[in-house]
């Protein structure tokens, strides 16, 4: 058998104080970005904020400065521009709530076709969203996410114990907040696709956490002499090779997808990539220590002697 790592005895729980600090920072970042989103000052995609986004494909390289000047000169100085140099594409975003009435999408297309007549321009996509729909989308997404978290806590609480359910939910929530916070810091646009990525990574992180918990539970039922810390440590070490291999195979797909998968998927696969890293980290350094941190009497599973 080829083995990447053999039996390991890493003291994961010993490092938990440092981990808490790191996680604390990530969570705070995430919470801050959530507040900014609610206040409307985060980089929300037009799915949520309303507005117009037009993506144009040029047949050769163009100057983004020229594009900016053209837009400013015709009453759109606040338009956000994003360039995809390898494919000569330009994304123009205008985030005001009256863009549909003002037919901004058509204006932008006409403008570029006139002012850049030395290029062949094709409209890749054009999105115009009124403000009411974006708001409803936000609400629906939040309700769905909250309900699924509650469902998860209930299931895990039944299969394991209440504290396991809560720990798993907190770890998953931590992962979503962490990636959200990182995206906020990187000033990446948060669109519906990114939210879908966050949901995907929540699922992945949950699976990962359950795998670790499962092993810990199994060990708890068997070895009655060791301390809880030792049992948890052993559990993590035992699943370590599985965790590494699964993470490696997932990266094997996500890294090329992020680098070469095209601009539509890029933000999505990047979020997943970050999420996989954070998700693995959280199963070990957030979910497991939380088990030990639960106040009050030790539950049935953790009771010694």
């Amino acid at each position: 058998m080829i083995e990447i790592i053999g039996k390991t005895h890493v003291d994961f729980m010993g490092k938990r104080k440092m981990a808490f600090v790191l996680s604390g920072i990530l969570v705070l970042l995430g919470l801050f970005s959530m507040i900014q989103i609610v206040r409307g000052s985060a980089n929300l995609g037009i799915d949520f904020s309303g507005g117009t986004a037009v993506q144009l494909k040029f047949d050769k390289a163009f100057s983004i400065e020229r594009a900016r000047e053209t837009l400013s000169a015709h009453g759109l100085p606040d338009a956000e521009l994003q360039e995809f140099t390898q494919d000569h594409k330009l994304l123009v975003r205008v985030k005001t709530s009256t863009t549909i009435e003002e037919e901004i999408a058509e204006k932008i297309v006409d403008l570029f076709q006139k002012e850049f007549s030395d290029y062949q321009i094709v409209v890749d996509s054009s999105m115009s969203i009124g403000p009411t729909i974006g708001h409803k989308l936000q609400q629906d997404a939040l309700i769905a996410i909250t309900l699924s978290l509650i469902g998860v806590i209930l299931y895990i609480a039944t299969r394991f114990e209440f504290r396991f359910g809560v720990a798993a939910a907190i770890a998953t929530f931590h992962d979503v907040l962490a990636v959200l916070g990182l995206y906020y810091v990187m000033d990446k646009e948060i669109t519906l696709l990114v939210v879908t990525a966050l949901l995907t990574l929540a699922g992945y992180s949950l699976t990962d956490t359950v795998v670790v918990f499962d092993r810990i539970r199994e060990n708890l039922r068997q070895r009655r002499r060791d301390t809880v810390t030792t049992i948890i440590n052993n559990g993590i070490n035992q699943v370590l090779s599985r965790t590494l291999i699964t993470t490696a195979t997932t990266m094997l797909v996500l890294i090329p997808l992020t680098l070469f998968g095209g601009e539509v998927i890029h933000d999505f696969s990047l979020a997943l990539l970050l999420g996989v890293i954070v998700g693995t980290y959280s199963s070990v350094f957030v979910a497991s220590p939380l088990l030990m941190l639960w106040p009050g009497a030790e539950g049935r599973l953790l009771r010694r002697g």
């Binding site: 080829i2 996509s125 309700i143 699924s148 699922g203 797909v253 090329p256 997943l272």
Partner: protein, 545 residues
């Protein structure tokens, strides 16, 4: 022994069924099958979503209040006509707000006449207030509700008719909530034209030009399109009460200049489009496309009366507030036919005919959301995304085979079966694949790989502890399966909640996720174990894992 056979048969049948269900999703393969086979299979497989295929998605809101206003206006017109027939004279009747009519009338006996008329002929109006100078009538609440409800249904119907005539494959037209309509036109080649077609209110009106007023001579003969507002402002205050200024929008013969011709028009509508029975494109005198309309019998009679009474005068044909043409009435026109000429292309004439035929929208539509994805982007996304995923996927399969050797190859087959099963399920359900849906697939494939890794790592552990092969395999499976089920169920809960409460793209994600998990579980529980059991029968000395 039996258990192995049974499970093997189950596996193979699932694989074959999935393959069969998936065939319609690949038109190239589907078309090359013999006729009788095609009959058994469904003719539609997996559809590509807008983000992958290109197309339009619109969410429109029906302006219900306008529908009510239009209905009240129509009643007002009828009331004026009936009062005139009765020779009952009142002041000018006005609509106030969306639902009220105010009739200026002072003499008690005239008021009584009006009141009787309305009670008899307009039961949906209820008397609100009577004073020395006015009578107020309001539309009943129940009637208002009825109009609003029927406005949406009528809008749906009209839009469906228009899109039908346009010939889009698999359009989606749905009511969303109380007063919104969602439209999806996948794969459409001319999004602008389709949008224009859908949203034309198509309110057709015939009005007479005011050829007596001296103001008419002061209007310029043409202005630039953007200067329309200036003209309205300039002349607005001096307009006689019964007139308005409307524009005819044309382009020059070469097509490079677009300009507008102002007309002074009497506000009174002499004929509306609801008398229209048919509209066709024919060739005019100079071989240019014209739209020929024919009216129903009531409309034909009215048209004959109007043309007879107005010989030598000009009548404007107005669509959605824009003048299409303003010909001179040369003779009384019986037979209920009229023509709209303009500088149309054949395409424009066709679109106009479609819109007239399908009927007017009962109220204006407000656009809430407009997504247009050009076909090139969809192709790009698919190509890049799929190519990268395939290559990466191959790498994973190779890795599994190298790291876990023969068992790795078994795992690869399991993952293949997962994909096939998912494909079959999605095709069989005629699901629509979108980018978030692909995300769901990626997650379940990842979980599938993970399941196998869990099992194999566990088996390796058992082997390391010195267990004999058969027991190691059984033990490994048993212990790993618990974990696999737990992990999949928790994700299923998430997927289920997202499916029930999520909308649009999130729902698509949830669908592929839930289906994928179900198939994963099936493969994990039934699938790979069978293969190991078959190996085990030969009393192996060594396990290739």
């Amino acid at each position: 022994m039996k258990k192995i056979q049974g499970r093997l048969i189950l596996l193979i049948s699932v694989a074959v069924l999935s393959a069969v269900f998936s065939i319609p999703s690949f038109p190239a393969i589907f078309d090359s099958l013999p006729g009788w086979v095609k009959q058994i299979l469904s003719d539609r497989g997996l559809a590509l979503g807008l983000d992958l295929q290109g197309g339009i998605q619109l969410v429109l809101e029906v302006e219900e209040d306008r529908a009510v206003e239009i209905a009240v206006d129509r009643s007002k017109k009828m009331l004026v006509e009936l009062l005139a027939e009765q020779h009952t004279s009142t002041g000018t009747i006005e609509r106030v707000g969306s639902t009220m009519l105010v009739i200026p009338v002072s003499e008690k006996e005239v008021q009584d006449q009006v009141s009787k008329l309305i009670d008899d002929s307009f039961p949906s109006f209820v008397q609100n207030e009577v004073s020395d100078t006015h009578m107020r009538y309001a539309l009943r609440g129940t009637e208002v509700d009825r109009i609003k409800k029927s406005a949406i249904n009528q809008a749906l119907e009209t839009i469906r008719n228009r899109i039908d005539q346009f010939g889009v494959a698999e359009p989606l037209i749905q009511r969303l909530g109380e007063n919104q309509i969602a439209i999806q036109l996948p794969g459409i080649k001319e999004p602008q034209r389709a949008k224009a077609l859908i949203q034309k209110t198509a309110l057709l009106e015939f009005k007479m030009l005011d050829e007596a007023s001296p103001l008419r001579l002061e209007l310029p003969s043409q202005v630039e399109r953007v200067k329309e507002k200036d003209i309205l402002k300039k002349f607005g205050s001096r307009l006689p009460e019964q007139d308005e200024i409307l524009f005819e929008r044309t382009t020059s013969k070469e097509g490079d200049r677009s300009y507008s011709i102002p007309y002074l028009i009497k506000k009174d509508v002499v004929l509306t489009g609801d008398v229209l029975q048919d509209a066709r494109v024919t060739m005019g005198d100079f071989s240019e496309p014209v739209v020929s309309m024919s009216f129903d019998s009531k409309g034909a009679r009215e048209f004959e009366q109007i043309t007879a009474a107005n010989i030598g005068k000009r009548m404007a044909v107005i669509l959605d507030g824009n003048v299409y043409s303003a010909p001179v009435i040369r003779a009384r026109i019986g037979g209920g036919r009229a023509q709209i000429e303009g500088s149309f292309t054949t395409e424009e004439a066709n679109d106009l005919a479609v819109v007239l035929r399908a009927g007017a929208l009962p109220a204006p539509l407000k656009t809430l959301q407009d997504l247009t994805v050009g076909p090139s982007l969809g192709r790009d996304s698919i190509e890049k995304g799929i190519r990268t995923t395939l290559i990466a996927g191959m790498l994973v399969l190779v890795f599994m085979a190298v790291y876990y050797r023969l068992s790795g190859i078994v795992a690869d087959m399991a993952i293949g079966l997962n994909l096939l099963g998912l494909m079959g399920a999605l095709s069989g359900l005629n699901a629509t694949l979108t980018l978030p849906g692909i995300a769901g697939i990626i997650l379940t494939i990842g979980m599938g790989v993970d399941s196998n890794v869990l099992i194999f790592e566990r088996i390796r552990e058992e082997l390391r502890q010195g267990r004999p092969i058969r027991l190691a395999v059984d033990g490994g499976y048993e212990k790993a399966l618990v974990t696999i089920v737990d992990a999949h169920v928790t994700t299923l809960i998430t997927g289920f909640a997202l499916f029930v409460f999520g909308t649009g793209p999130i729902k698509g994600f949830a669908v592929t996720l839930c289906l994928g998990i179900g198939i994963n579980l099936f493969t994990a529980l039934v699938g790979t174990k069978v293969v190991f059991d078959i190996f085990n029968r030969r009393k192996l000395q060594q396990l290739s894992i």
